[in-house]
Symmetry: C2
Subunit: 164 residues, 2 copies
């Protein structure tokens, strides 16, 4: 038998079993939800678990991480026609404004336990990045430039049309 | 039209288009690969993009993050029968030893740009966590206690059987 690093044994099964306590908060913006993820605290290390299509409302095809954003920068400023996104600020802080064409709300993302779900047809802006901020985004689709709505006026005409 | 945060406009399409430069390195351990992910550097902020079933070899059903692990702790010490995993140390540092029953190798995970792919039937141990380490793990399956092989002897007998 190959000798192995570490002699301290412990039962790790519990550490990856989802805790039953995640919560989902609705918002003023259509379909946008704020997710408080499960934390399992343990002397051997803490664990956060989230399952796709469960705590995160979709299966991701892609992720991206944004970091080293100057505090004056505003990112996002677009909506997606069909892509779903889930945002977690895994270090530092940033804020997200989400807008459904009628209502908008600012959300503060400040840690591993908070996820923001943005359904398609949500105009979103990320800003107020702290110098150390790292924003992790899960996306339901591969990159497709045709999925972007970059004009707020076009976004409004599409959402108002849809809501009539 | 709703007034909007931020007046500085820029074209953000380029920032989420995958860079063509990710690389995949093979290892001494069967099926285990070290992935150098794409970085897009930009004055407005840097971006890392990875696509599932492309740079990451599977679609994830789940992710978990491990942090606040005492430096003396050893985590993992198991293999999976069918679950694929992809590990990124998104803050700080940790090391992973991967073992296929014949060969083993230590990998150093020290940042957002390095991902380690562990196929099923890979014995893996994580250790040498720095105090600020955060290990992000994508898993191809939901949590299933029956997918774990927790005995190294059983792992060896299964892998040796498979390789005969």
């Amino acid at each position: 038998m190959v000798g192995y690093v570490g002699t301290k044994k412990w039962e790790s099964a519990i550490s990856v079993e989802p805790s039953p306590s995640p919560t989902i908060e609705s918002s003023q913006v259509r379909g946008v939800t704020l997710h408080r993820l499960s934390l399992v605290e343990d002397m051997r290390g803490n664990l956060i678990v989230a399952e796709f299509e469960r705590q995160v409302p979709f299966l991701p095809k892609r992720y991206f991480m944004v970091f080293s954003v100057p505090s004056s920068e505003v990112r996002g400023e677009h909506a997606h026609l069909s892509c779903h996104q889930f945002l977690i600020c895994i270090n530092g802080f940033c804020a997200v404004v989400a807008d459904d064409g009628k209502n908008r709300q600012e959300f503060h993302l400040d840690g591993l336990l908070t996820g923001l779900y943005l359904p398609p047809m949500t105009w979103a802006v990320q800003y107020k990045y702290s110098p150390d901020a790292i924003l992790l985004v899960f996306a339901s689709d591969y990159y497709d430039p045709n999925d972007y709505i970059r004009s707020y006026d076009r976004f409004l005409s599409l959402t108002n049309g849809a809501q009539k």
